[in-house]
Amino acid sequence: MGSTVNQSPEREEFAKPESRFKSLLKRMIRNKSSLIGACILIFFLLIAAFAPFLMTHDPNSTDVLNDFQGPSSENWFGTDHNGRDIFSRIIYGTHLTLYVGTVSVAVGAVFGIVLGLLAGYYGRILDSIIMRVADVLLAFPGILLALAIVSALGPSLNNVIIALAIYNIPVFARITRGSVLEVKDVEYIQAVRALGAKDAKILFQHLLPNVSSPIIVQASLQVATSILSAAGLSFLGLGVQPPTPEWGAMLNSGRSYMWDNPHLTLFPGIALVLVVLGFNMLGDGLRDALDPRSKK
């Protein structure tokens, strides 16, 4: 590895934001995992952005006479039980998947980070309360909490996002708090404090940038998890409702016809695996790039 490896941790931690970003970018490019992950994600972002130009058919136009067609030059991924073009539906569904994953994580992260900063910085009772609540929410394994919330709110895209955002809050609160506790007492922060900076300024201007690395990594991995969870909820019929071409919902409706027409479930599943893989690889790569211990 090159010169960035030998930088002292102090320089790393307290460098200016721009150079931090630049050095992060450099390391990302050097790290194969994050590079591949980023490429996959850019690919899907482009698909989502240019979906109208990429779709070969109207994703929602049914053609009963033309149902269950296998992959062909006309319908690249075949057609479903209503004769809709699966390729176009997957293209159209891309933005939904990215949207659900990123928005639920963004919302969860904002609340989680603020709560984590408060808990870590002020400690004492506030810390206890916030972390006990987080413990409770994390006591619901996997998608169980989201499942329970959606079951009450009713199935819809927004409710899935709300449920997943709530599920993401304690994850970010915990990780932020842990990082804050690590850097809170370093001399730099104490110096800023001694100079009489306001708490809000310390929290957001000084602490937050110094704890951002693990949060960024977690965010990427969490988007992957959230996309899987959202697809799972849709698959159970609790998420986005048909005929919206959401991948999980497509898998749910396709499973009934799977015996004779596996392409109904094959292609949306592959798309799902690739997007999730992109976020996972990006997150893994970022973790390796940002973790000073793994730079052997």
Partner: protein, 306 residues
Amino acid sequence: MHIFIIRRLLQLIPVIIGVTLVAFLIIQLIPGDAAQVMAGEAASEEQLEQVRENLGLNEPLYVQYGLFLADLAQFDLGESVRTGQPVMELVAPRFWITLELAFWGLVVAVSVGLFLGILAANKQNSFRDFGTMAAAVIGLSMPNFWLGLMLMYVFANQLGWLPTSGWGDWQQIFLPAITMGTAGAAIIARMTRSAMLEVIGEDYVRTARAKGVKERFVIYKHALRNALIPVVTVIGLQFGYFLSGAVLTESVFSINGLGRLVVDAIAQRDFPVVQGTVIVLALTFVFVNFVVDVLYRVLNKRIELN
């Protein structure tokens, strides 16, 4: 050690209360009239009143929660609004099925995960290492319900080797267990690999080599024993995730466990059943984590250098 266990048990109390509170509040989240939602559009005013009466919805919230807790303390999870059956009766037999399913999933996850993790760590940065870790990240990225469908298509439909669905026969274990265990195997493989790599650099591993211990025993005896300690935690967590993963796996393979129960209950708006299932699953998770914590502590005690 006893003090640790007692302290840890005391810490569980607020979590358990919190879990019941969250489960209790599910009904409060229902937009509009909960009784109407549960009883259905066509319900008459008497029927609605009946539902409200049964669920205690007319009482103030804290009274409702008090009653809820009081019932819970007697292992009473209420009754199904659909069939009137006690939720406990619905939950209990299915709980064992789900537990059994999670157990086999764990067997797959642990055996495959440990094997691959050691394999990768043994030859760090080799093609084998790279291939194993690539497989792991793909396994981690696969929706388990989709994997289940694909396995079912290939092994049940195309090859006809294994039954498509159901639970009870030993042949019916394989596909759901693989479906459940794949993501866990990926996580355990990654964790095992990094733990092994860390341990392999330790002085005592060098000592073992200096003693003339065969390389095989250096890895499987001296290194692995130590590497397993952090892996235990991950295994425990995995078991918890299997409980929730069961929801999807049971749906794919038509297994009549807690997951099916909760999904069906949601479809029928049978909220007491939803609440009961969620509480049972969450408390099981809490309990498993507690056991893992204690176990980790026991295993780790010897290592702590004072």
